[in-house]
Symmetry: C2
Subunit: 646 residues, 2 copies
């Protein structure tokens, strides 16, 4: 954490100085008439977007929700490793790790070979493969995730708070040339006591629908979710129960011979557990709502499936019954009729949808909340960059392209996983049985581990993702995938830390220079530092505004091969000890050395002879891998996304 | 973290349900007329005590301070490993680690051999030896430590908040037989605008003076600080500066040849640094106050000492000048004329002093705040146990005995360290030079590392600390020293964690049973579980009140030698899967297995053949090490401290 740059300030460093014009801690009752971004919906996608936008003093955001106040009990609860990485960028990963259940292992239960009316454990695996992420896979009530994001918004310079009890009644986007600066007009209806029915009109530069599967924003864009309707019913319940099932505190998949399946997800706090229970097959036109399933039926089904173990439910904290359906929207923005990101179409999207508004799937793979938050994390920095005049508006076209591809993969995965999960286990004594082989299910589960951890996402080459021409310089930082953190030692204070943890959700790009071998500890890096700043067209000068810190938009860091005690800070290029802020203080946190106990040059396959540059997007994805001397290529790439400073 | 035991409750689990009669979030303006404990002083000692007492719904505490509100800029800033362990017991270690500077290495600078007018680096060492604690040594503004403790108080069931702007005007303890229930009477004078001069009278069962070196409570007890007056002046300043001194982000001791010494302590946030600067020798009757030293002189001295490096101070956040003096009070309570803890004297102390009120020393070893907080951590659970009727009142006599011995050690250490630090470095070209050998200083520093980390404290045998008769069963858990955490795997959920982190600041004792070798994974533990609960006089029955959870006062945990996948939860003795709370839920967090990657049976020298019991006090100190079958000895020991349940 860095603070005190512009002078010592007492108090909690997590609470930013309020921006000029920021509202006081209590939001005024009325939604502002004009904003930069209107976010519709206070779910995970909406709150991640709002938390990201709130960090920028120059951006006015409003976020609304139909509900009267913050969520108190959750729906989703799975938090993938990749999501914890993102939470770390927002500054609250520690709190999530402290409070959550950690998914360390998964166990598999199937009909016992000797007595198929009983279940027995068939396997037990580590949940997340070693080294996949520096963070574990955890489980935490969605409501608490909301709390942390709301806290980030509240402590941000803009002191952003939601306007609850607002229903979106209409959304209109002006045609080209009309209402140029704020082309989106939203009509909101107040639902709060004393104001019921009052109408507010908000004009916005951009609007984002994070308003769930029945999204009003999506409807206003004329888009529909397409895909399977569901034909299987599942129940879910969060319970406090007493049981002799020995894996009640492990994530466990339980396939009974004839009674269906249960997925056991232990919850935070040591006592609560979530059970996903397969109900029986639904007919084509038979819907859950028509079947009057109650929690008693869920409990009874769970007890039959877990036989011979007892399950005594003492309290039900929350429950629901739902149908599985995998559905996807054609586009995630308002640029109808075009899927490309080729820059040929000069139109700029003005309205976006994210999360359940554009893709729905079953909850059992624990992906919904995670993918939704990654949607808006992808969008947030792009909107901010364009609004702040730092990036070309065409950047906004990459959101739909990038995230729709992820959602499509998710839906394919979910379809296969749900089918696998719902299938009857094969009877080993019946060679003709068409059921699923339990060992096969476990294998599938292991293979898909990276996908469910959220670390498999790979964005295709585009305006914001380079080609992998130089991938061999750093195998472990695949272009288009999230920057995979690794341990380093910070040079100035000898602190062991994670390199990836310098990538904060602050809208900045990071340029990591990995030193080449040579007599000079800074081999390759020294020349790069010069070239990056040499002349007005050098990439780190061209995009820098007068008076701002050298790292305000692109944050240069270097990682050296030598052990930290073998490097002298006095030898460092000035660009790596930049002077910043009102007082011209030196920032000592740009220089790192490999940690000899776990050398990241080895761990990430970095070419020791040549070194390399790795450019990382504000959402933590690798934008480019380049040779240390490829400043022109870097310049060309950055020039394609970013605007020169005016 | 455990929660939801008595039913699901939404919201932040760190905020306890308010106790009946707990004040609302804003404390009423008046100090209550009658309390169980009156804490005088909102420094680190007072706040740790208040945070500890606030955790008990049945205890009424008031804490007052002369200042008009919370501290905003700090004085102390060093946080020893042992203190972070204590913070972890209070639940905010993560937040301290996130925000603080980590002291990873210390560097040593001395006059350059070639040119003694310049300084050069003579050595560089790891600050804390490997394995000393699972936590690092960190630096953080005292004001932030206060903030975290105030937050713990506010979120506790009793919703405790300080009453600021109160000066202690008088303190009186009634003689034996008089005012029996609340023998302490304190007279407070309000200093807050609109109430200046108003007098409040508070009657208390106990009062604790955490009111600093000029303690009014100490004065009321007729005790004095005895010891050296100071004859050396030091200056301290927190500055934002620009320098080319390469170790400005390392803890560094700098001894110049003729200009004195500087201690460099980098501070949190990446930019701030604290410099302790030796001023020149004072004459016997010459005092700092009489010398008109200003911050400009401190800066000038630092510049001379750091030559040839430049130091440009851009902002001074805080500064002070002080004299070194090591002084100690004869007793830390009101039982004049008796140092013993032998139980012969049946009197119960009613007034205590803690922190600077009973010991003062120089700040450079970074011990003041740490030792003060450990004082009141030692006292807090004892007061709570006696007030709640769980422990014999004689327990309170151990506070002065235990903590005065620690303070005496600290003062001896500080005297030697300060002398060493202030001495002129020896000139290698002058064999008769009486100065200090720089290598000797560095050696001394290394040897004292455990002391400064706060992990060297060892309480002598007493009512609450057993004899080390069976120490050979667990060499690494020395009786009387803090329970040294080690990694384990929690059986029920396969979670890798630190065993010591189950010892929370909740006033409970922990009994760890380390399994013996044998065919049964629970060898030795199974028999112990039976014996601990067998019959009304068995130790875990005798002290248990009807209706309370089995672990309410003594929390039994077991650690097995086998890897966790080789142990079945179904084989566990019922005492290790206790049913708790309103709903009779099973607590799954009592059972651990050695982590094969770092086996604690090896790391802590536990006798694998015999296993052992380790009893840990509520303040994390090892009270006893006993064979697994020594239930009678355990019973006798516990019976000496705890009262049978009535």
């Amino acid at each position: 954490m860095q603070f005190h740059l512009d002078g010592f300030r007492p108090g909690d460093p997590a609470v930013a100085e309020p921006a000029a014009g920021a509202p006081p801690r209590e939001m005024p009752a009325e939604v502002p008439a004009e904003v930069d971004v209107l976010v519709v919906g206070c779910g995970p996608a909406g709150l991640v977007l709002a938390a990201q936008l709130a960090a920028f003093a120059g951006i006015r955001t409003a976020i609304i929700d139909e509900k009267p106040g913050p969520l108190r009990v959750g729906q989703a609860d799975g938090i993938a490793c990749r999501t914890v990485e993102m939470f770390n960028a927002f500054g609250f990963a520690e709190r999530v790790l402290r409070e959550s259940y950690w998914v360390n292992e998964t166990s598999f239960w199937k009909p016992d070979d000797a007595d198929r009316a009983r279940i027995s454990r068939s396997g037990r695996i580590q949940d997340t493969e070693d080294g996949l992420s520096e963070f574990p896979h955890v489980i935490l009530n969605q409501a608490r995730v909301h709390d942390f994001l709301l806290e980030r918004m509240r402590d941000a310079p803009t002191r952003l708070a939601p306007h609850y009890a607002r229903r979106l009644d209409g959304l209109d986007v002006a045609g080209a040339g009309q209402g140029a600066s704020h082309p989106v007009t939203a009509t909101l209806r107040r639902l709060d006591p004393g104001h019921e029915g009052e109408v507010e009109t908000v004009r916005a530069r951009f609007a984002v629908g994070c308003d769930g599967a029945r999204s009003g924003v999506r409807r206003a864009l004329g888009l529909a979710l397409r895909g399977d309707s569901a034909n299987q019913a599942w129940g879910v319940m969060d319970v406090l129960a007493v049981t002799d099932f020995p894996d009640i505190r492990l994530k466990a998949t339980v396939h009974s011979a004839r009674e269906g399946s249960v997925l056991v997800i232990p919850r935070e706090g040591g006592y609560l557990v979530r059970l996903y229970i397969e109900l029986d097959k639904l007919g084509e036109n038979e819907r859950v709502a028509g079947r009057n399933i109650g929690v008693e039926q869920l409990i009874a089904a769970a007890r039959r499936i877990l036989h011979p173990y007892a399950l005594e439910v003492r309290e039900v904290a929350w429950w629901s019954v739902y149908e599985i359906g995998q559905r996807l929207s054609d586009r995630f923005d308002d640029l109808a009729g075009d899927e490309g990101d080729d820059g040929v179409d000069a139109r700029v999207p003005r309205v976006f949808i994210a999360g359940d508004a554009c893709h729905t799937h079953s909850p059992k793979a624990g992906q919904g909340m995670n993918v939704s938050m990654q949607d808006s994390f992808n969008l947030g920095w792009k909107l901010a960059s364009v609004l702040l005049g730092r990036a070309r508006p065409a950047l906004l076209r990459s959101y739909s392209a990038e995230r729709r591809a992820v959602a499509r993969e998710l839906i394919e995965f979910d379809r296969a996983f749900a089918r696998m999960f719902s299938a009857r286990p094969r009877d080993p004594d019946d060679p003709d049985d068409a059921g699923v082989d339990p060992a096969g299910f476990q294998d599938y589960f292991v293979r898909q581990g990276r996908f469910t951890a959220g670390t498999a996402t790979r964005y295709q080459p585009s305006l914001v993702t380079g080609a992998d021409t130089h991938q061999q310089l750093a195998h472990g930082f695949p272009v288009g995938m999230r920057f995979h953190s690794a341990p380093v030692i910070r040079l100035a204070d000898a602190r062991p830390m994670q390199l990836g943890h310098v990538v904060l959700a602050d809208g900045r790009w990071r340029l990591f220079a990995f030193a080449a071998a040579g007599d000079d500890a800074f081999a390759g890096v020294r020349g790069l530092c010069d070239a990056l700043f040499a002349g007005p067209d050098a990439p780190l000068r061209r995009h820098a505004r007068p008076g701002e810190d050298a790292d305000a938009l692109i944050d240069l860091r270097a990682v050296l091969q030598r052990p930290h005690r073998a490097v002298s800070l006095s030898d460092a290029p000035a660009a790596l000890l930049p002077r910043k802020g009102r007082l011209g203080l030196i920032d000592y946190e740009k220089l790192f050395c490999a940690d000899p106990r776990d050398d990241l040059f080895d761990a990430r396959g970095i070419d020791r002879a040549r070194g390399c540059m790795v450019l990382v997007r504000p959402d933590q994805y690798v934008a480019h891998v380049l040779p240390l001397d490829a400043v022109e290529a870097l310049s060309a790439f950055l020039g394609g996304v970013l605007l020169p400073a005016d």
